[in-house]
């Protein structure tokens, strides 16, 4: 696709996301008619419709869209940085790294305010990613090692998380719902809490799209073109982890979005890195918004955690990518 077509594609996906978002305002434990939603949106009053729309459904859907865009860009950055098509926040252990210390804080240090959880998540995610990248030699070792190292780090942290949950007693139910990944009952406050982190990641990726494009070739070529590896590698890694650190305290782990969205974007072949990033963010937002809508309407009045839906969508897509050879590595005869 050339630049114009790519922009149109991004526009279409954004419009589709908005449509899903708007459609999501209607169904729920109490179904609202189209007119009722419109009236509540245009002139909010104290009535039940407007409360449903403005305090329950709109913020959670917006949170889903924001989280999706953030996770997708995070996956894109990690994949570009390592030139490994498998890299994504879940598989590299970043998500588990963000989750485990937050659970520990929640159970053992209740005095730590929830406002600091993104910072805790950032530190944990950074630590986990460092271990994974150390194992995979910064993406220069055997590409499978990135996945195996990340999964091992995740299993390790998962065992600790479950152990801590055993101590949590009555809180464990609430923690588990968060651990399953979901947007139920998320408010404007939650949205505001994660927005800056996602914005940092997404806008940083846009600003640095030239550097990212040079990383796509190899470390050597990037260095030859004047990219300071020692500076930009850590910066890109940090930018990739920021959205996860912001999303994890609010929505828990939402699996496979960071892996799938960049691959779908690349299947559309946009021209240029900046457009690719835009497309990735839009697709991520669309996936999570739609998955959230499915998760909360499939079994009204109960709802599924959105993590189940994205995992059920993402797993088969992953197998498809593997089978099509899209996850093969350069110079690998697999």
């Amino acid at each position: 696709m050339d630049a114009r077509k790519s922009s149109i594609a991004i526009g279409c996906i954004v419009v589709a996301t908005l449509l899903v978002l708007a459609a999501g305002l209607m169904p729920g434990a109490r179904t609202l008619s189209f007119e009722a939603v419109l009236r509540a949106l245009v002139s909010p009053d104290g009535r039940i419709e407007s409360i449903l729309v403005w305090t329950l459904r709109l913020p959670r859907s917006l949170a889903a869209a924001t989280a999706g865009a953030g996770l997708a860009v995070s996956g894109y950055l990690l994949q570009s940085l390592t030139r490994n098509p498998l890299a994504d926040p879940g598989i590299t252990g970043v998500t588990a790294g963000a989750i485990a210390p937050i659970v520990v804080c929640f159970v053992f240090l209740p005095s730590v305010s929830g406002l600091y959880y993104p910072l805790v998540g950032l530190a944990g995610g950074l630590a986990a990613a460092s271990v994974t990248f150390w194992v995979a030699r910064g993406g220069n070792g055997h590409p499978l090692h990135l996945a195996l190292g990340g999964v091992s780090v995740s299993l390790f942290l998962g065992a600790i998380t479950i152990y801590v949950l055993l101590f949590a007693g009555p809180q464990s139910t609430a923690l588990l719902f968060w651990l399953a990944g979901g947007f139920a009952g998320r408010t404007w406050g939650h949205l505001l809490q994660m927005l800056p982190w996602v914005l940092v990641g997404v806008s940083g990726a846009f600003l640095l799209h030239r550097v990212i494009a040079m990383f796509a070739l190899s470390d050597h070529s990037a260095a030859a073109m004047g990219v300071q590896l020692n500076l930009w590698k850590p910066v890109l890694l940090l930018l990739g982890i920021c959205p996860v650190a912001g999303v994890a305290p609010v929505a828990g782990p939402v699996a496979f979005v960071g892996l799938a969205a960049p691959h779908i974007a690349k299947l559309l072949r946009p021209r240029g890195t900046a457009l690719e990033i835009g497309l990735t963010a839009a697709i991520g937002a669309l996936i999570v918004t739609a998955a959230d809508l499915v998760a909360r309407t499939i079994a009204i009045p109960k709802e599924l955690p959105v993590g189940i839906v994205t995992a059920l969508l993402g797993g088969p897509f992953f197998v498809y990518l593997v089978q099509r050879g899209r996850l093969d590595f350069k110079g690998e005869g697999a």
Binding site: L86, G90, I91, V131, W134, V135, A136, R137, G141, H142, L144, H145, A147, L148, G149, V151, S152, V153, L155, F156, A159, I160, I162, Y163, L165, L166, F167, S172, T173, L176, F177, L179, A180, G181, G182, P253, A255, F256, K302, E303, L304, P305, G307, I308, T310, A311, L312, G314, G315, F318, V319, V322, Q323, L327, E332, A334
Partner: protein, 344 residues
């Protein structure tokens, strides 16, 4: 290369006897040590059938069954890991990395959901949990996950590397669904499944040991039959076929055996991660590439690791013991990461 070629550095003939002695020592230590301080004399008299009822109950009904269950499960995890590593030609394959454990988790969750929650909608009533049925339920899920791996290998015709990748993805999906179900469950009895999820030998009875015993015996009895295929499966399919191996049949057989071993063990003690991964490496480290020695050493060391891990967990945590799954994760991950770093 002949099949029994000694590898670089003939391993010491004392390794296997030494490992067997280690099993005995760890077994004895596990029987005599515990959070309840029983004098050695009381333990001995309890073992011979005399002694106070409390001591007898502690030794015969609490410590011994969990130790035996742990030994059996440890041997099964270790064998399953060795088999998976051999057939996927990937030194990092493991039941917990390839979806078998997660499959078992999912079916146990679904089973508990149906029997406890749906059968008694008011979830606060305390009723008898069908704990005796958990091992078979977990076993079914593990076998189903193994079936998916099989389909990937032969229907989609994937290479071992890709099978490993897909196994990781399938494990992640099954795990997400299981956690989602637990979260949606919202019952007051959630600790039951949490404790099972952490991989624990807590409150294991002779029933668990008896459930595992046939699988352990069958797995060990299969060893002479699949010994030669195991050696040949380490090669490329083309090479293995040129030695006269019916690759597909033997691959399926070994996959089936390893899934049955892993799934039944997960069913009985929960997903104890990394035992299947670490133990074969430990065995290879001690025995070199001498496969005739690696195989028995894997079995023996599996028993040692789980027994010692459980003992550490029992003694370290005080009254709230540390589940064996947490102990093996804590011990296993540094080893694993170092291994990954070493493999070029």
């Amino acid at each position: 290369m002949s099949l029994n070629a000694p590898a670089i550095g003939q391993p010491s003939r004392w390794i296997l006897p030494a490992a067997l002695v280690l099993v005995l020592l760890s077994f004895v230590a596990a029987v005599f040590l515990g959070i309840v301080d029983l004098p050695a004399r009381d333990v001995l008299s309890a073992l011979t059938g005399t002694g106070s009822p409390e001591a007898r109950s502690i030794i015969l009904d609490i410590r011994l069954p969990r130790i035996v269950t742990g030994i059996l499960a440890g041997m099964q995890f270790a064998l399953a890991g060795l088999f998976l590593q051999t057939i996927t030609r990937n030194p990092l394959a493991d039941p917990s990395l390839m979806g078998v454990s997660q499959g078992a988790t999912l079916t146990v969750t679904v089973f508990l959901l149906f029997t406890v929650y749906l059968a008694n909608p008011d979830s606060y009533s305390v009723n008898e949990l069908p704990i005796a049925w958990l091992p078979p339920a977990g076993m079914i899920g593990g076998m189903l996950a193994g079936g998916i791996i099989y389909l990937l290998a032969f229907r989609l015709d994937l290479s071992p590397l890709r099978i490993t990748l897909c196994g990781i993805a399938i494990g992640a999906v099954l795990h997400a669904v299981a956690i989602g179900l637990i979260a949606g469950w919202g019952s007051a009895r959630i600790e039951i499944i949490l404790e099972w999820l952490s991989g624990s030998l807590y409150a294991r009875t002779w029933d668990h040991a008896l459930f595992l015993l046939p699988f352990t015996i069958a797995g060990l009895a299969m060893l002479p039959l699949i010994y030669r295929p195991l050696i040949l499966l380490r090669f490329d399919p083309a090479v293995a076929r040129s030695f006269g191996l019916s690759y597909k049949r033997q691959f399926s057989l070994v996959l089936l055996v390893s899934c049955a071993l892993a799934a039944s063990a997960v069913g009985a003690v929960g997903p104890v991660v990394f035992v299947g991964l670490i133990v074969p490496h430990l065995a290879r480290f001690l025995a070199g590439r001498h496969f005739p020695l690696v195989l028995p050493l894997t079995v023996v060391l599996g028993a040692v690791i789980v027994t010692l891990g459980d003992l550490i967990g029992r003694l370290a945590g005080g009254p709230e013991e540390v589940p064996i799954g947490v102990v093996t994760a804590l011990m296993g991950v540094p080893v694993l990461l170092a291994l990954l770093r070493k493999v070029p």
